[in-house]
């Protein structure tokens, strides 16, 4: 799952090295447009519903956090 998440992230922002990046949202690396695209792609790929409730920086700040959130929603 982690590789797929990295692939999706890289397709949205090819300029960022997501393997090691932290603070994706709280550090301002991902902008709101990127986040909306990311949520859309994640929802389609993993068949999960990501709602406004999940939209906190802690859930999107790193690849590991995103993977953890998807697992909890499945």
């Amino acid at each position: 799952m982690k590789e797929t998440v990295i692939e999706i992230l890289a397709s949205i922002r090819p300029d960022v090295d997501f393997e090691s990046a932290e603070g994706l949202v709280s550090g301002g690396i991902l902008e709101s447009f990127d986040l909306v695209s990311l949520i859309s792609e994640l929802s389609d790929e993993f068949s999960v519903t990501i709602s406004a409730k999940e939209l906190v920086p802690e859930n999107f700040d790193s690849v590991d956090a995103i993977v953890k959130m998807i697992e909890s929603l499945r």
């Binding site: 902008e31 709101s32 909306v36 695209s37 949520i39 792609e41 406004a52 409730k53 939209l55």
Partner: protein, 503 residues
Amino acid sequence: MGINTLAFLLFFVFGITVFYLLPQRLKWPFLLLLSLSYISFKDIRGIVFIVLSSLSVFLGGRLFEKRNEPKDASFRKKILILTMIFNLGVLFFVKYVKPIYGAFSGKTPPELDKIPFFDSIIIPLGISYYTLQILSYLLDVYWGRQKAETNYGKLLLFTCYFPQMIQGPISRYGALSAEFFKEHRFKLHNLKFGLQLMLWGFFKKMVIADKVGPYVQRIFFSHKEPYGLTVVLGLIFYGIQLYCDFSGGIDVIRGVSECFDVKLAENFRQPYFSRSLGEFWRRWHITLGSWMKDYVFYPLSLSRPMAKFKKSLKKKVSRVTVNRIQIAICDIVVFLLVGYWHGAESIYWAWGLYNGIILAISALLTDVYAGWRKKLGVDPKRKLWDNLFIARTLVIVTVGWIFDCSKTALGSLNLLKNAFIISKTSFEPIVLNLVDWVEIAELIIFCAILFKVSRMKERGVVVREKIEALPFAVQVIIWVGMIQLVACFGRSSGEVGFMYANF
């Protein structure tokens, strides 16, 4: 009682003295008392609105925590909708009913004030700001991002904290409550930094904004219609005035609050250095922008109707295009709402549409722009291109200010048309009648100081720490110099209210 008055200064000195003399447990209740007194100075009826609004979200929050089982979903939703309707309904009633009726009946505001029903409508101090604040608390508790407050007094203080009642910033409960209820000890540097920020704010407001203001008034709101360069100059003046007025006011507010050892959220981050319109709105009125992002943009993007709409599009266009269309729609909705938040008049709708459409187009044409950049060999890391992007954003933003420079949207468009009419008389009003050249020379120097400080901040310099590190004698010179600047060059013909206090 405006924050640039002697009465406020006395109120502030009294507040600070008592605040630090009181024991810890009485500090926040005293801040609450101070805030309620401040509101009652303007209109005691304002307190009724604040108490009812904060009580509604307090009870809503408590209910969300008590009824948190999956079977309660429908009940929770009903409570959320009812509480939101109540608070937005009150805001709509006091702020929009009168202008909307005026627009349909053709009556002017003074005429409306003579009608029995309308003459009793008051706009409570800070309602546009605190309504958004308490709705953010309500939604955060509903979504489980924030624990419900169990002490009503604490939530009331969050709603009516006096420094931010005038023009924001729009705070979040998590951040502000941590500041309110921490241990407050008197620290000289808090007072020093707070006073310094206030002084800087007064410099921007009284020395620059209040001096530029009369030019803007004469250019756009006198009997003579402006043309050509006069319009351009008027727009540049207005851009300076609005920034210095609003961000100066926020500096004073944050400075006052820092003296009470309560740090408020940042609302401006050198917006005129932005490389794109999107970046500009992330650096201008930051707390309103982030409120709109968290409570309108994301929920709308993730809503069921939007998901259905996207599904219907996916058969026709690529996934990437669908995402961009979604972002474009949300951008337009958000900016229309931001416009509407400022007021019901047509200029605000037009302003929202102007910004929303530009952002929507840039979202839709991302690939086209990327292609152009590649063809032209654009390297954003190079200084030349970087400056060109800043200049382009400045032009887009400055053109957008035209909607603030007329009473109607059509009038604004007419002004825009006038800007392109270069006639013999197009510059005459400025040269002959408007300009006091000494004052203009002073303004250029003051704007240069502002630019220099802003550029230092832009490069990551923490100006207050830089000053702190200077020899004591130099610090004294800076302090005395700034006080002299405000005292000697600040507009002396009485108090001028803050532009954003009207929203």
